[in-house]
C-alpha cells in the first residue's frame, strides 16, 4: 500500500522554537494521526502548513492522489491547492463559525462543495443536504435554517457534513471538540469514529485532549517547542511514553 501523504523535513518558524521544524512522516489511507502537545508547541502551525494554508520555510509535502497521481503541495499552483482543499481534502476548524458560512442556510452550506464541482441541479443539492444532515444526526427539517440558530454541537456537526459531502480522502481537524461541553463531545466523537471507519478517511487531528486522542487516533505525534519528540502507536505512547515530556504530559492528566 502506498502512503496518501508524504511529509519530509517540514519547517515553518516564527521565532526560535516557535512554529514547527523537522517534521517527517507518511500517512496511509484510512489512518488517523493525532498531534498532541501543550499550547504553543506548534500543533496548529503544523496543521496549517500540512493543509497548504501556509507555506513552509523548507520541506516537502506530497499528496498521492488516487485519481490524478502525485501532487507536490508547495509547487502546485494556487488554483490546484484550492481545488484539492475543497474536493479531496477537508478542514474542520475548532470554531465552527470559521468553517461555516453563517449567513446562508444549512443546506446551502452543505451544497457549496458540490456546486464548486459543477453540480447545478437543485434537487440533487437538496437531496445531498437532507442526506448529510441525517448522517450527522441533525433533524433534516432544519435544512433551511441558518447555522446561527444551531447549538455549538450542531454547528460542529454541520461543519463536518459540509466537508464530507465531496467524499474527501483526507481531513484535517483542529481541536474539533474543543469548545463543546462533555456530553456533546461524546456524541461528536462517537459520530466521528463511525464516519472515519465507514468512509475509510485518513485524518490528521490536533488535540490537547488525550482521551480524544485515544478514542480516535491510530497513532500519535507528541510535539514540544516546535519539534516532534515522540511518535508511535496511540496506546503505546499513552501507556508507555518514552520521552520525558510525553511522560509529563500523560501523568499530568486525570485518567486519559
Amino acid at each position: 500500500m502506498n502512503p496518501l501523504l508524504s511529509v519530509r523535513d517540514l519547517t515553518l518558524l516564527y521565532g526560535p522554537e516557535k512554529g514547527c521544524q523537522g517534521v517527517s512522516f507518511d500517512l496511509y489511507p484510512g489512518e488517523v494521526l493525532g498531534i498532541v502537545g501543550e499550547s504553543g508547541s506548534g500543533k496548529s502551525t503544523l496543521l496549517s502548513v500540512l493543509s497548504g494554508r501556509n507555506m513552509p520555510d523548507t520541506g516537502q509535502v506530497t499528496y498521492h492522489c488516487p485519481q490524478t497521481g502525485s501532487i507536490d503541495l508547495y509547487r502546485a499552483s494556487e488554483a490546484q491547492r484550492r481545488n484539492l482543499l475543497r474536493t479531496q481534502w477537508g478542514f474542520v476548524e475548532q470554531n465552527p463559525r470559521d468553517g461555516l458560512r453563517m449567513n446562508v442556510s444549512a443546506g446551502a452550506n452543505i451544497g457549496e462543495r458540490l456546486m464548486a464541482q459543477g453540480v447545478r441541479h437543485y434537487g440533487q443539492l437538496r437531496q445531498a443536504g437532507l442526506q448529510w444532515l441525517k448522517q450527522v444526526e441533525i433533524d433534516p427539517a432544519r435544512i433551511d435554517d441558518l447555522p446561527r440558530t444551531f447549538s455549538g454541537g450542531m454547528q460542529q456537526r454541520l461543519q463536518i457534513a459540509r466537508n464530507l459531502v465531496s467524499s474527501p480522502k483526507l481531513m484535517f481537524m483542529d481541536e474539533p471538540t474543543g469548545g463543546l461541553d462533555v456530553s456533546v463531545q461524546a456524541h461528536l466523537l462517537d459520530l466521528l469514529r463511525g464516519l472515519v471507519r465507514e468512509l475509510q478517511l485518513a485524518v490528521i487531528i490536533v488535540t490537547h485532549d488525550l482521551a480524544v486522542a485515544r478514542l480516535l487516533a491510530d497513532r500519535l505525534m507528541v510535539m514540544r517547542r516546535s519539534r516532534v519528540v515522540e511518535a508511535g502507536l496511540t496506546d503505546q505512547i499513552l501507556d508507555d511514553p518514552q520521552h520525558a515530556y510525553s511522560q509529563l504530559l500523560v501523568s499530568s492528566v486525570l485518567q486519559p
Binding site: D190, G232, T234, Q247, L248
Partner: protein, 234 residues
C-alpha cells in the same frame, strides 16, 4: 504443530523521567515460543512482570531489546520496530488480548461493543449479532442490557461483556490477563469453556491466572518468571 509466537532475548525497562530518571529492569533475556493449540501460563509472584510481558507482547509497551515474532497469515512478522499500522493489522486479525477491564466508550451499546472485533474483520451484521447474542447469553448478561451502553453496568457485567467481545472471533494468538478474576463459579466455568474452545480451534494462548482452578483446567506448560534478583515490584 506450528509455532505461532516466538520470543527471543526480550527485555523491558521503564525509565521514569519524572522520578529522578529511575530505571526499572522488569524483563530481561526472555526466550520462549508458543505452538498453535497450546496454552502457556506465566507463573510468578505479583511484581514478577507477568502483565508487563503480556502488554509488551501486544505492542502496548515498547520493548527495550529482543525479538517478538508472530505468525500472521503464514508469515512470521517481527513486532519490534514495526509501524503502528502493521501492529494494528496484527491486532485486527491475529493477536487478541483479554483483560479484566472493559474500555467504555460513551454511547456505544453493549451489542455493538461485543460485535466490533467481528465487524472490523468484515463479518456481516446478522452473523455478528447472532454470535454476540449467543456469547452474552452464555455469560449471563440479561437481554434487557444489550442495547444499553455498558458505562453504567456493574464491574462484573463489564468484565463479562469484555470477555464476550474477546471471543467473538478466532485469534491465532490470544493473550489473557486474569480472565476469570473475581467471577463467580458459574461464569468462571463458562470462561474456561470458551478458552478450551479457542484452544481446540488452534489458538496459541498465553495466560496469567492466579486462580488455581482455571490454571489447572487450561495449562499445558508454565513459564517461570520468578526473577533471579528482584529488581522491581509492580
Amino acid at each position: 504443530m506450528k509455532t505461532v509466537m516466538e520470543v527471543k532475548g526480550l527485555a523491558k525497562t521503564f525509565t521514569l523521567h519524572q522520578q529522578h530518571g529511575v530505571v526499572l529492569n522488569v524483563l530481561q533475556g526472555l526466550d520462549f515460543s508458543v505452538l498453535a493449540g497450546e496454552c502457556l501460563i506465566l507463573h510468578g509472584r505479583s511484581g514478577a512482570g507477568k502483565s508487563t510481558l503480556l502488554r509488551t507482547l501486544y505492542g502496548n509497551y515498547l520493548p527495550a531489546a529482543g525479538s517478538i515474532r508472530v505468525l500472521h497469515q503464514d508469515q512470521m512478522i517481527e513486532m519490534l520496530g514495526a509501524e503502528p499500522r502493521q501492529i494494528l493489522e496484527l491486532r485486527r486479525t491475529t493477536l487478541g488480548y483479554v483483560s479484566q477491564f472493559l474500555r467504555v466508550i460513551p454511547r456505544v451499546s453493549c451489542l455493538d461493543v461485543v460485535m466490533e472485533p467481528a465487524r472490523a474483520r468484515g463479518m456481516d451484521l446478522n452473523t455478528a449479532r447472532q454470535r454476540a447474542e449467543e456469547l452474552l447469553l452464555r455469560l449471563g448478561i440479561p437481554e434487557r442490557l444489550w442495547n444499553l451502553a455498558p458505562g453504567t453496568f456493574s464491574g462484573g457485567e463489564q468484565q463479562r461483556v469484555n470477555i464476550a467481545r474477546s471471543f467473538m472471533v478466532h485469534w491465532p494468538v490470544l493473550l489473557l490477563d486474569e480472565p476469570t478474576a473475581s467471577l463467580d463459579d458459574a461464569n468462571r466455568k463458562v470462561v474456561i469453556e470458551l478458552i478450551e474452545e479457542a484452544r481446540r480451534a488452534g489458538s496459541g494462548l498465553i495466560a496469567i491466572s492466579h486462580d488455581a482452578e482455571t490454571r489447572n483446567a487450561i495449562a499445558d506448560r508454565y513459564l517461570d518468571m520468578t526473577p533471579k534478583e528482584l529488581s522491581h515490584a509492580d
